[in-house]
């Protein structure tokens, strides 16, 4: 076993891999899109992670890749140091990438005698669609297939090769192109934008013997490649898609067979007005009241904003980046509901909070302050390598609650209003791998307790919702036992409609 310097991914590698592979899946490239994914931020292409790990192998003169199995148990992020662990024997290498205790990537490569195949003199380039397909579960039945002329973007591929020096390790242009093609199929075609790439098993065909196989020089690659991929299975229990892909040369001679596995993210319906109305009949109990919901575009915040509006409140709904979702929330308001007014900004920023304060004053005062915003969240262990991320998460969480509190509770107090702080059921039943999340939620509950002393005219409510079906939990296992946010929103608004003691902090844990 050998260890090496850590691997860290940056924008430059992502851009290079995206150019080479023609994989433009926004989970890797578009911060706003990625914010709405279970990972909360852009993630590294799995195949790029594999290339970076393979680049750490010892040189293997006289060998070429025969097969590669690679799995992506956890997402790789940008700007984090990952440990690489290698176990090498003459014909086999095992590679792992770790984030402390967390396994991110595992690969097994088998090698055979030979050398990687060379490109023809002037490789052809085939440009493909730039937009990832958005296939939903219903579109992904076995037999669905795609077939196209495909190549990597050769200059970018050459730059990748220069960066990773893979040729002395038995991976030539075809092997690099294969990892690019695997990424392209999953990220752009089957299933495309909703993909969470989980596994690839790559088998390189042995090159043709002698000179008869092709009019070209033996072993040279004729391009553009023919790339074919076909859905072989879809497991609805886990939204798990299995695909077989093949890469052939321009003349149809098979080069590579790849088995691919990807999870398909489901579409999350934010603020389902019908579901909410069924749980809490619309009314006018909050007519004339002004509510401010911080973090209102998606998930629980959107449901809370909607539930308050359905009771007649005017709702100032803040969001940081998800404008489309925020606008959908407004569009979905049923007739007779209160107004929802959107305010885009960073609630951790005192200047934005001052702006919100002015807006509330212009509307005549604030009755209800709902503090729901939280930073992106990925699990991590309490260990030295994660300290910076833990502190960052707690610091952002506290700011997202304390900044609006400090700017707005005074207004709330003037109207003997209410303040809702969103915590988590994990405060009662802690979970491993969420030290940052629990530390942050503990801090928010503490802020509520102190704010209740400083603003005794305000009645506080701390929510401890169970696992909710939102963008954050939209993974095959995350979805298990998650409940719709509308249920928590309905229970919260019911609690807000009942009388409460000023200066006290009530806890809402039981969600019917």
């Amino acid at each position: 076993m050998s260890a090496a310097a850590p691997i860290r991914f940056g924008d430059e590698e992502l851009a290079l891999f995206s150019a080479a592979s023609q994989d433009r899946n926004p989970l890797h490239l578009d911060e706003a899109h990625a914010r709405r994914s279970p990972f909360g931020a852009r993630v590294v292409f799995g195949a790029l992670g594999a290339l970076a790990a393979l680049a750490r192998l010892a040189e293997r003169p006289g060998q070429t890749l025969a097969s590669l199995t690679v799995e992506f148990p956890s997402p790789m992020q940008l700007g984090v140091d990952y440990a690489v662990e290698l176990q090498e024997s003459p014909e086999r290498a095992q590679l792992k990438l770790h984030d402390g205790k967390r396994l991110l990537l595992r690969a097994t490569a088998l090698f055979r005698a030979g050398s990687p195949r060379a490109l023809g003199a002037a490789p052809a380039f085939a440009s493909v669609a730039r937009e990832a397909a958005a296939l939903a579960v219903a579109d992904l039945q076995p037999g669905r297939s795609v077939e196209l002329a495909w190549t990597p973007e050769w200059a970018a591929l050459a730059a990748l090769e220069a960066r990773f020096q893979l040729a002395p390790r038995g991976l030539g242009p075809l092997e690099l192109a294969t990892l690019c093609a695997a990424s392209y199929v999953v990220g752009m075609q089957l299933p495309g934008v909703r993909a969470l790439f989980s596994r690839a098993v790559i088998r390189m065909e042995a090159p043709p013997d002698g000179v008869n196989a092709s009019p070209r020089e033996a072993g040279e690659l004729a391009t553009p490649f023919r790339l074919a991929a076909r859905v072989t299975g879809f497991d609805p229990r886990f939204d798990l898609l299995s695909t077989k892909a093949t890469l052939a040369d321009a003349e149809g001679a098979p080069l590579v067979a790849v088995d691919l596995q990807a999870f398909v993210r489901q579409e999350i319906v934010h603020a389902d007005a019908g579901a909410l109305a069924a749980l809490l009949p619309p009314g006018a109990a909050l007519a004339g009241k002004l509510a401010l919901v911080v973090g209102a575009s998606r998930g629980l915040g959107a449901s809370l904003a909607q539930a308050l509006a359905q009771q007649g409140a005017t709702v100032l709904a803040t969001f940081r980046s998800s404008r489309a979702e925020a606008e959908r929330l407004v569009a979905a308001l049923p007739e007779g509901a209160g107004r929802v007014l959107l305010e885009q900004g960073d609630a951790a920023d005192p200047a934005f909070c001052a702006q919100l304060r002015a807006r509330c004053q212009a509307e005549g005062g604030l009755d209800l302050l709902v503090l729901n915003a939280c930073p992106p969240l990925l699990p991590l262990w309490l260990e030295p390598g994660s300290l910076a991320r833990l502190q960052e998460h707690v610091s952002q969480s506290v700011a997202l609650c304390a900044a609006p509190m400090s700017a707005l509770l005074e207004l709330c107090a003037a109207r003997a209003g209410r303040c809702v702080v969103v915590s988590s059921s994990a405060m009662r039943a802690p979970l491993p791998e969420w030290p940052h999340y629990l530390a942050a939620k503990g801090a928010l509950e503490a802020l509520a307790a102190v704010a209740a002393l400083e603003f005794p005219a305000v009645a506080f409510l701390v929510l401890r919702p169970p696992r909710l079906l939102t963008d954050l939990t939209n993974t095959p296992l995350g979805r298990q036992a998650a409940i719709p946010p509308a249920r928590v929103a309905a229970a919260t608004v019911r609690a807000l409609l009942a009388p409460a003691a000023p200066g006290a902090v009530a806890l809402l844990e039981e969600i019917p």
């Binding site: 992506f72 956890s74 396994l103 595992r106 097994t108 886990f238 095959p476 296992l477 298990q480």
Partner: protein, 82 residues
């Protein structure tokens, strides 16, 4: 340990987690073996389904957090060890 892990079971799990078959005991559990995280758990279920020709109930899967529990569940599905 009162009984051992059937070879077919330990071999599938060792393969999924990249561990030595001897490292798989009845007490081996989620979080105690490298790679047996939520992703590994799902890969293990898929591999066991394919090896033993059974279908796991998705609602039960999160509860099957140790080798002993997996073994008992498979037995409940009619899997007999040689």
């Amino acid at each position: 340990m009162s009984s051992s892990v059937p070879a077919r079971l330990s071999s599938v799990l060792a393969d999924v987690f990249g561990a030595a078959p001897e490292a798989i005991t009845l007490e081996t559990a989620v979080g105690k073996l490298e790679g047996w995280d939520s992703f590994g758990h799902l890969q293990a279920v898929l591999a066991l389904e394919s090896e033993f020709g059974v279908q796991f109930d998705p609602a039960k899967i999160p509860e099957l957090t140790s080798v002993a529990k997996l073994k008992a569940y498979l037995e409940g599905k009619g899997v007999a060890w040689e």
